[in-house]
Amino acid sequence: MKEELFVSGRDIPNIDPYLNIWHWQIPLYLFLGGLAAGILFFAGFYTVRGKADKMQATVKWAPLLAPIALVLGLGALFWDLKHKLFFWQLYTTVRLDSPMSWGAWTLMIITPISLIWVASYMKEMFPWWDWKFDFLNKAEAWVIKNRVGIAWVMMVYAVILGVYTGILLSAFNARPLWNTSILGPLFLVSGFSTGLAATILLSKDPKERKRLSQIDLIFIVIELFLIVHLFMGFLAGSQTAIEAAHLFLGGPFTVTFWVFVVMLGLVFPAVLETLELLGFHVPKWLPAVLILFGGLMFRFIMVEAGQITRYLY
């Protein structure tokens, strides 16, 4: 009989020796949250810079996706809950030291903002649109007048949303793969990159697409840098961190991570975007779709692999 298992108190089904609690809903939500954060940030960014007219898809059309992504993501989160009827308790709690609390309140704020943003452009996007009620028209006029101010708030919350999708994981101290300060910025950059990719897909203006591709290239380079940094940090860390890194460096996640995330999701689209900027003809949807695919795979692999990494035994 192995007494030490009972004494240590770590013989908990689905938690030790490894987590088996988060399935497809969580990475899907993290992906959609990052995507919405990216789209909303750049919509706000170009509004603040006064270039809304030149960046039609970025400011007007792509934000249509944001509330849809947020609602679908929240739906996935809700699906994941064990006790679904208690979800409202997240909103009776404010805990500054809990990323879940931060996330719940951030979503509580940015989801309506994204809806208001889209609503304020409805008449421009769909000329037949009619609000029917006078107070709605008045509210719309007020939003349009204060668009720059709202854009600032939206940008700030988009950054918090993007970082939070990573911090949510890095707050798990007992999971070495997640417990690194790089995860927040990494998820932020990755989310922004997927947001840009989605906007590129929607944009019909070659000039706008070119500008977005340039920004996306910068984000891809930063993301690659952060990934390298992540592994350097692990390899210079404790034995548990080294073991976490070895899941990706010769372990079971090596092929999926390096092929699908790094090569297909980052390096290859970066090469394609560079060729496109150099004047070669590249199918315009291809790099964007690859980036979206890579972003999704990244979250699935990080959530899956992180649950396996551990301290004990």
Partner: protein, 178 residues
């Protein structure tokens, strides 16, 4: 390598002799990096086995040949050949972009035949190639290219068989091309 080719209707291909040398060097690099030669038919086999296993798991398992590749904890798709084939596709795409062949989808064929005829014969040819590669334990790249690179007699036999048969059969199918 010219970006203006993207507007040209005439696609540009690599010089076959240069291509052959590069292919030989590729085998060297592949052996150096992976410790194995090149191959492509294995990826098709993996795909066929996986598809069969998804739709008719019982039949796939009762088939002596397919059963070798099926295991509970390991998908047949999780082999280096599948990833290599993915790379072939992407490398071809990259070359197409650089040499201006990606502008639009086209079926290349002799002026004497229609695109439809070309596609039908390509499909038949591909199927024969797939069957033949299983008899020969590898395709042109697996058995012939990687085989001869290691001075394997079987590789040389396959190489001569492929090109000899091709030379002999070409007479009957020449009208598909010229």
């Amino acid at each position: 390598m010219n970006k203006h080719h993207s507007k040209n209707s005439e696609p540009k291909y690599i010089n076959p002799y240069l291509g052959g040398v590069l292919l030989g060097l590729l085998v060297l690099v592949t052996v150096l990096i992976t410790g194995r030669g090149l191959g492509a038919s294995g990826a098709i086999k993996s795909t066929v086995v996986t598809t069969a296993h998804v739709f008719t798991p019982e039949q796939a398992k009762s088939n002596a040949y397919m059963n070798k590749f099926i295991s509970d904890d390991h998908s047949p798709m999780y082999t280096w050949l599948v990833f290599e084939t993915l790379g072939i596709f992407l490398g071809g795409l990259l070359s197409g972009i650089v040499f201006g062949r990606v502008k639009k989808l086209r079926t290349e064929h002799s002026p004497k035949i229609t695109s439809k005829t070309r596609l039908i014969f390509a499909l038949i040819g591909g199927m024969l190639f797939g069957i033949g590669s299983q008899f020969g334990r590898g395709c042109t790249s697996g058995a012939a290219l990687s085989g001869t690179a290691t001075f394997a007699l079987g590789g040389a036999v396959v190489m001569f068989a492929i090109f000899g048969t091709g030379y002999a059969a070409a007479y009957f199918f020449r009208k598909l091309w010229i």
